[in-house]
């Protein structure tokens, strides 16, 4: 159920997502915005800060996989 809340949401990258580094995205959820650890859904993709991404996978409690919109 929580998966359904998170999936398909658009998020904003606040920490660079790149291989070997834990990125960060801000997601609007539960009436507020929360920061989640983010990894790229595809291998070897680097997503810069400020990019808009789509949450494609949610790993509770605080990890998401994103793909560039």
């Amino acid at each position: 159920m929580a998966d359904q809340i998170m999936l398909g949401k658009t998020a904003r990258v606040t920490g660079t997502i790149m291989p070997g580094v834990v990125g960060e995205v801000m997601v609007s959820v539960r009436g507020g915005a929360e920061a989640f650890h983010a990894y790229a859904a595809e291998d070897g993709v680097t997503i810069a800060v400020g990019a808009r991404v789509l949450v494609v996978e949610y790993h509770p409690p605080r990890t998401v996989f994103v793909t560039r919109l």
């Binding site: 929580a2 920490g15 507020g32 929360e34 509770p60 409690p61 605080r62 990890t63």
Partner: protein, 480 residues
């Protein structure tokens, strides 16, 4: 009716009270952890089902007293102070002081994780986090340089997520922020890091200051020069105007006296003219009254004088002519007389000369004879001469007595005899003296001996030369 209402009211109040006792509300910053009867039957919470307890956030819930247990888990922000001595990537020892701000995650999974770990020890949460994070911070600093710590926040947060994120998720916590508050730098690395820039900035500041100062000074000097120039121009103009004012004032001041003087001058000119005219008139008058008559008189006198002079000249000429004629006549007569006289005198002179020549020859013969006699016997001649002169000598000796009025002789006749003898002895003494003199003379020069008596005889007694003067006057008398 009223009792029914009251009973209903009491019943309502009772019910409300019961509900109030059973109703629990989860405030925004907390989660209710409900465990016990039917807690697992919450259809909304899959996690809770698995765990066997119910998590309620942001709403109220009825709790069955006795059957269910409610605990509150704070979702508030919490901070843990960190102080770690560590080594940077470059091997520089630093002391890092920071703060980590964390909270329990808002999702049910995080709340469940946290509830299971901290529900009874929420006060110790900070200490737990501190212990965990001290190690993480040390690891993070080991991957950073001091420059990164100071400047690269992105890298710091990325490292925070990478190193501590997973571990914190296990605790149901999320790290909102990690701040490095202070870096204790015992080696002075940071200070030295900034030094070149500080020096450059200071240098630029000094340069800019000096430049600004120079420009300001230049502008000030230019302004001062312009001010001085303006002051000079103003002073010059003021002086010029003042001079004009002074000149005008002086002119105005002098205008009165000048006009007066001019008027006076004109008066004087007119007076001078008047005086001149008067002088002319006086001159004319004098010409008429004085000069003309004087001229006439002068002319008269001149004419008269000239006539008189002519007359006198004529008279004088006549007189001169007359005198000339008289003088010529006199001169002629005088010349004739003189000629006659000269003839007469020449004849007389010649006669006298013949006489004198004859007399001189005679005397020369006499003197020669006497000299011959003297050379033969001196004493005889001298004695003869003394004898001739004896009366005169005695008279000279008696002369002192002649001046005596009365002679008193103390020894009578013998006195007189002595006196005379004395006087005569004086005479004989003179004789001796004369003799010695003569002998001296004869010794000095025999040639002069003949003339010597002739030369001194007029001075001594004139016995030889007496005849010559007595004979001359008779010869001279006929000349006159």
């Amino acid at each position: 009716m009223i009792p029914i209402l009251i009973a209903a009211g009491v019943g309502i109040i009772f019910v409300v009270g019961i509900v109030k006792l059973m109703w629990r509300v989860a405030e925004p910053n907390e989660a209710l952890i409900i465990s016990g009867l039917r807690a697992y039957r919450n259809p909304d919470n899959a996690v809770a089902e698995s765990l066997g307890f119910k998590i309620v956030t942001g709403k109220g819930v009825l709790v069955m007293p006795g059957g269910q247990n409610v605990r509150r888990l704070s979702l508030d922000l919490q901070a843990a102070q960190l102080s770690v001595d560590c080594v940077t990537q470059q091997g520089i020892p630093v002391g890092v002081r920071g703060v980590v701000i964390f909270k329990v995650g808002d999702d049910y999974a995080s709340i469940a994780n946290a509830a299971r770990r901290f529900l009874d020890q929420q006060n110790k949460m900070e200490a737990r986090v501190h212990n965990v994070f001290a190690g993480h911070l040390r690891a993070m600093v080991g991957q950073l340089t001091i420059e990164d710590m100071i400047r690269d926040r992105e890298k710091l947060t990325a490292l925070t997520r990478a190193s501590s994120g997973t571990e914190m998720q296990k605790l149901g916590l999320i790290v909102d922020s990690l701040q490095i508050q202070e870096i204790d730098d015992p080696t002075g690395y940071i200070k030295n890091l900034g030094r070149p820039h500080v020096a450059a900035v200071a240098s630029q500041a000094r340069i800019a200051e000096a430049q600004a100062d120079r420009e300001a000074t230049e502008q000030e000097q230019i302004a001062a020069a312009l001010k001085a120039e303006a002051a000079r121009n103003s002073a010059i103009k003021q002086s010029g105007f003042q001079a004009e004012v002074d000149e005008a004032a002086a002119r105005a001041q002098q205008a009165g006296p000048l006009a007066e003087a001019t008027a006076h001058q004109q008066v004087v000119v007119e007076q001078t003219k008047v005086a001149q005219l008067e002088g002319d008139r006086e001159e004319q008058r004098l010409q008429a009254t004085v000069r003309k008559p004087a001229d006439a008189r002068a002319y008269e006198q001149t004419t008269l004088a000239r006539a008189s002079r002519d007359a006198q000249i004529s008279a004088a000429e006549a007189s001169a002519q007359e005198t000339t004629l008289v003088a010529a006549a006199q001169a002629e007569s005088t010349r004739i007389v003189g000629d006659a006289d000269a003839h007469a005198r020449r004849a007389i002179g010649e006669a006298d000369a013949a006489t004198l020549a004859a007399k001189g020859l005679a005397e020369a013969e006499a003197i020669r004879a006497r000299a011959d006699a003297l050379s033969v016997n001196q004493d005889a001649v001298i004695g003869q001469q003394l004898a001739e002169q004896w009366p005169a000598i005695v008279e000279a000796a008696a002369k002192p007595f002649g001046d005596v009025d009365q002679m008193i002789l103390l020894n009578g006749a013998t006195g007189i005899a002595e006196l005379l003898t004395q006087a005569l002895s004086q005479g004989s003494a003179g004789f001796q003296l004369a003799r010695s003199l003569l002998s001296g003379q004869s010794q000095s020069g025999q040639a002069q001996s003949g003339q010597a008596p002739a030369g001194r005889s007029p001075a001594d007694n004139g016995s030889v030369s007496i005849p010559a003067p007595t004979s001359a006057p008779p010869a001279g008398e006929p000349d006159k």
